[in-house]
Amino acid sequence: MNEADKLAKQAEFFSRYLVGGSATPKAVELYIHAIQTVPGDMNSNEKKLLSFMLSKPWSVGLVDAGLAMVNPKSEIRRRVYTMFCILEATPEYAEKFLPQKHSLWFLPVLGLIGVRGVLRSLLGVLLVKAVR
């Protein structure tokens, strides 16, 4: 697999994780271009983690959440963040990022999302440490 293909795979996996859907071809192209322009520094642990994430798609969210706790400035997070930005500026996904009307009844749902998020972060920390 060449570098562009690897980056395309990252774009796809990150998109599914971030917005629950495939990245558009344009979004993939922008991600590849962004990362090729600014490749960033990835140490051997992060390379291992990235490889793990791409072989086990279910782990993407856990790794991102875990790194948010233990290494928020990691290169992996930067790449996920880059995809986040690209998806936000994609009309197909605009509604996933724009404020949405919710009644107060949504608060418990939000609470559950928060709890899930924290649990994901804690599990993610364990996974990140295990893969290292």
């Binding site: 322009t37 400035k73 996920v80 963040y81 009309p91 605009a94 990022f97 404020p99 919710h102 949504f106």
Partner: protein, 540 residues
């Protein structure tokens, strides 16, 4: 070599305003400027659509929201110019190479762009109080007339309300303020409901006067609430210096020469010689003028003067408003749909004036948050992955209000500039800056911020964190060539003339001896006009 009449350096606020005064008086004016532009972005933003429509429909939106090379996505910490978007990135072009500042304590934003720092100005237009003007070395009567002139030229909107002493001051010429969005309507209502409490504790709140027209003016259109204020100025509702310079270019007695970085001057008997560096070629060019007006900003003018008259040993004072921003959550406004009729400019100003003196006050500007996109805030959320933070932010974003707090500044021994040799710089030198608040200043400003955060809470705004983006990030600089009644070197006469020279004037904020917390731009526009007027008077 021909001797030009008036040469103005810089196309920013001071340059544009002083040039207009001289051109209108029939004088022959030449503007020398670097004038970096961003032609790629000029036509990129569709003209008539608003932020929400563009988000939902434009497949090319990434170009102006993120940058064609995604260069608008910044991974690092929030710093100076955090809200500068790709279309305005030319503001900072060439600055690292041509006008570097070396410092571990001060991180300024300068501009060599066409329109200077005015390209990204937040268009807030407070008038200084009389005492503030006097402390700064400005003549209140001349400034009152100048504020009116500037307002007529650029178009200012505001409201005469209970806080007018702090906002519009004596200004008579203004259009009505734009409509507030629902976040600010609610904040204002809360303030009104507890007005006595706030007043007894030194707080005043009013609509922020803006260089933003709400009625058509000449060929500029009234603000249309497209909420694209951070990305484009196509309709020219917000005044930018380049709007004035573009108009001046149509006049026969005005010449604009771009691509030139002014390095130094040599004040001779009958004229002043100006040495420039051509940006594209690196060649040096020389101009001669009867009058030279520096309008490159307090840092830029200091640099040129130090290079021209300094020995390498001088330290010049440096004023800069300390700045903290406080993202707040307005619980009553969370869970609301995106609001179509919104704007990115400040809508309310909160003033803390404990002595009831309209002097030595701190000011907080309130902004809603929609068009700067989620990605800028989501990286501030700790401990959660982005996929979990996103739905949380979708719910919270409609309730986010940013409070930007500025404090006043005065000269101390801990705030200064020097010009030092620097082989890494294209010009062979760099400004070295040191900026440090005294313990007393830090304590006082921290106390005021605590009080502002408390007041905000009473208005339904709950502070999420306090962010100090570092000294220099307010982008308000002054006092490097202070006004003085004696003719000490590296000071200005009250008419803007550089002491020790016959032909050199400074029209920007370099002379201000005191920097009030209220943004300085309206006052530096007015000062630029009075400096030009003074030169005309002296000529007679």
């Amino acid at each position: 070599m021909k001797i030009l009449d008036y040469v103005i350096i810089g196309s920013g606020c001071s340059g544009a305003m002083s040039a207009q005064t001289l051109v209108e008086a029939g004088k022959q004016v030449t503007m020398l400027d670097v004038g970096a532009t961003n032609a790629d972005y000029d036509d990129m933003v569709p003209e008539d659509d608003d932020f929400l429509t563009l988000r939902r429909t434009d497949p090319e939106q990434y170009r102006y929201f993120l940058g064609s090379n995604i260069e608008g996505v910044v991974w690092g910490d929030v710093g100076k110019g955090a809200q500068v978007t790709p279309g305005r990135s030319h503001m900072a072009r060439h600055t690292e190479t041509h006008i570097p500042v070396r410092s571990e304590t001060f991180s300024p934003l300068e501009s060599l762009g066409y329109g200077g720092l005015g390209i990204g100005w937040g268009v807030q237009c407070w008038q200084y109080s009389k005492d503030e003007m006097k402390a700064a070395g400005l003549d209140p009567k001349r400034m009152a007339d100048a504020y009116e002139t500037v307002s007529k030229r650029i178009g200012i909107s505001g409201v005469k309300d209970d806080a007018s002493d702090y906002t519009l001051g004596t200004l008579k010429t203004f259009q009505k303020s734009p409509d507030m969005d629902r976040n600010h309507v609610r904040v204002q209502a809360k303030f009104e409901a507890k007005r006595d409490y706030f007043t007894n504790n030194g707080f005043h709140m009013g609509r922020t006067p803006l260089a933003l027209i709400t009625e058509d003016k000449d060929d500029r259109k009234a603000y249309a609430y497209r909420d694209m204020d951070f990305y484009t100025d196509k309709d020219r509702s917000a005044w930018r210096p380049w709007i004035t310079v573009n108009e001046l270019k149509k006049q026969k007695n005005f010449t604009y020469i771009g691509g030139l970085l002014v390095l130094r001057f040599d004040d001779k008997k009958d004229y002043v010689e100006i040495e420039c560096l051509e940006i594209e070629t690196g060649k040096h060019e020389t101009y001669r003028a009867k009058h030279l007006i520096l309008a490159t900003g307090a840092l830029g003018s200091a640099r040129i003067v130090l290079r021209s008259l300094g020995t390498g040993k001088e330290k010049l004072p440096l004023l800069c408003n300390p700045y903290t921003y406080v993202p707040c959550l307005q619980p009553a406004m969370v869970g609301k749909a995106a609001e179509p009729r919104k704007m990115g400019f400040a809508q309310l100003s909160l003033f803390l004036d404990e002595q009831a003196s309209n002097f030595d006050i701190s000011v907080a500007s309130l902004y809603s948050y929609q068009s700067l996109m989620m990605f800028r805030v989501i990286k501030q959320i700790p401990f959660l992955g982005y996929a979990d933070a996103r739905p949380l932010m979708r719910y919270l974003m409609s309730g986010i209000v940013i409070m930007g707090v500025h404090h006043p500044d005065k000269a101390t021994d801990h705030k200064y500039l020097e010009l030092v040799k620097d082989d890494a710089s294209l010009t062979g030198d760099a400004l070295k800056a040191h900026y440090e608040l005294t313990d007393e200043e830090q304590k006082e400003y921290s106390r005021r911020e605590d009080k502002m955060v408390g007041a905000a809470r009473k208005m339904g705004l709950h502070a999420l964190q306090r962010v100090n983006p570092g000294y220099g990030s307010s982008v308000h600089y002054a006092g490097t060539l202070p006004f003085a009644s004696d003719d000490r070197p590296f000071t200005l006469g009250f008419d803007g003339k550089l002491h020790g020279t016959d032909h050199v004037y400074v029209a920007d904020s370099s002379g201000f001896n005191y920097l009030p917390s209220r943004g300085l731009t309206f006052s530096l526009l007015a000062n630029a006009h009075t400096v030009a007027e003074g030169i005309l008077r002296n000529e007679k």
